[in-house]
Chain length 267, copies 2
Amino acid sequence: MGRVTGDGTVGKALEVLDQVAAFGRPVRFSEILAQSDFPKPTLYRFLQTLTNQQMLAYDPERQTYTPGLRLVRLAHTAWDQSTLAPVARPHLDALSKAVGETVHLAQLDHAQVLYIDKRNANNPVQMYSQAGKVGPAYCTGVGKVMLAFLDQDAVETVIEQQSFHGFTDHTLDSADALRAELSDIRQNGYGFDREEHEPGIICVAMPILTLAGRVLGALSVTSTTSRTNLAGLEAYVPILRETADKITRDAQNWSFPDYQTKETTGI
Amino acid sequence: MGRVTGDGTVGKALEVLDQVAAFGRPVRFSEILAQSDFPKPTLYRFLQTLTNQQMLAYDPERQTYTPGLRLVRLAHTAWDQSTLAPVARPHLDALSKAVGETVHLAQLDHAQVLYIDKRNANNPVQMYSQAGKVGPAYCTGVGKVMLAFLDQDAVETVIEQQSFHGFTDHTLDSADALRAELSDIRQNGYGFDREEHEPGIICVAMPILTLAGRVLGALSVTSTTSRTNLAGLEAYVPILRETADKITRDAQNWSFPDYQTKETTGI
DNA sequence: AAACTAAGTTTCACATAATGAAACCAGTTT
DNA sequence: AAACTGGTTTCATTATGTGAAACTTAGTTT
């Protein structure tokens, strides 16, 4: 039959969940239906189930669905256990204090960049708003340095999945351009975003690798062309490398999360 | 046969997901099996499906499961669309700056307090680590003020679900004690945490209500007995009330999320 | 090295649960 | 009042999920 999901009913339900999330705003049944491959009653049932399960929230007033609170609860654990964030946190704090610019911590998820943590330039942060955000891999500093250190065939798989939308006129808009850039990055050990995603926004990025060389994530320091330039950002390379190394070291050791006291401090 | 979930296969799968998350650490198949009502192969299949779907992450090295990255992605949207956080953010920033103490924004989820956002006292924040965290309703400032303004029968339902564990010797450890406290809070319009959850930790909390009086969430300012006392915290009541009012007002207006430009700023 | 054991994985007959065409039920519009 | 449109329910059919039992490693013991 038609290409669906694999993973049976559960997979299908999660597909619906993704669809709703993808709208990025409260959506009505009919809007989802229009996007969906599922027949009306099937979709209807999934939405009911997901809502029951608090994976979606339903606003009876406006008759709209949004992703539900249960996700927030679950994600807390996910963030704390399946990402670099807890290990990286102190190092990210230090880095942030040292450079005084916006810093990001990201990981690769599928073929996308997933932002895991962030410190804002000066104003005391509004984080989670950004953690969990996804972005294109081919035109962000963190994205490119992570791709650069993937193994050859993994890169190709990921490259195939990029859509190469030209955000600015500096955006690398072809697989070949990207391959060349990745090769450069591999050479240097770090990379830049030269206003490739947003005009005026530049960054320098450093991969976080295991001792064996596997990609764990990436760090970046972001600024604007009005405040500095690439040469200015390059000055941060040493401290970025240091920070990345520390994270690597901690991650390596910490990999035995031997029964940490689950809740030492109350919230 | 035995009480399960309702919501068919999807519900069961999500139950498993919760179980894994509840461990709060990477878990092996056999550990989950021990907790689970599902027979071995059934559980096995669910874990496979969830892992496939990135709702769980599997570490083949240690043979352990943890909540997966997909949750982080999804929660971002949930947080941004189904919580007070985006509306409250600027007001929370202002409040934080004004009082210089740790402030929390929370909502009620099931019978628990779900922390949605936070600003730390002085050190520039490590938020998401806390957002998504859940806590008991009966012995936190935010929990109690939210319960206080629920309608009568809703309160009773919630009270039944509390477990009344005595965290400290100030903890309200019975339904009746709690009912009395709620009545006081209703009188005053705000409430305290008198070291009920953690010794030395006190807070003043203010509900966020709709104009019609329905509970949306709660705010709190937290401090320690070494730095101040309840009278000291009470001084924050006016600014807390003001902040809560502003959030109410914005939430009321903002409820038509009329096609906001999905991504104005890149990350 | 043969005999246990425990943890994880696969099989397969069976029963349950998901499926979706069609029908139904508001509200709205023509 | 007839013809939409968006949402909900029914129900026979079928696909899917189910779990006892069997099997496969890998790790211990005798």
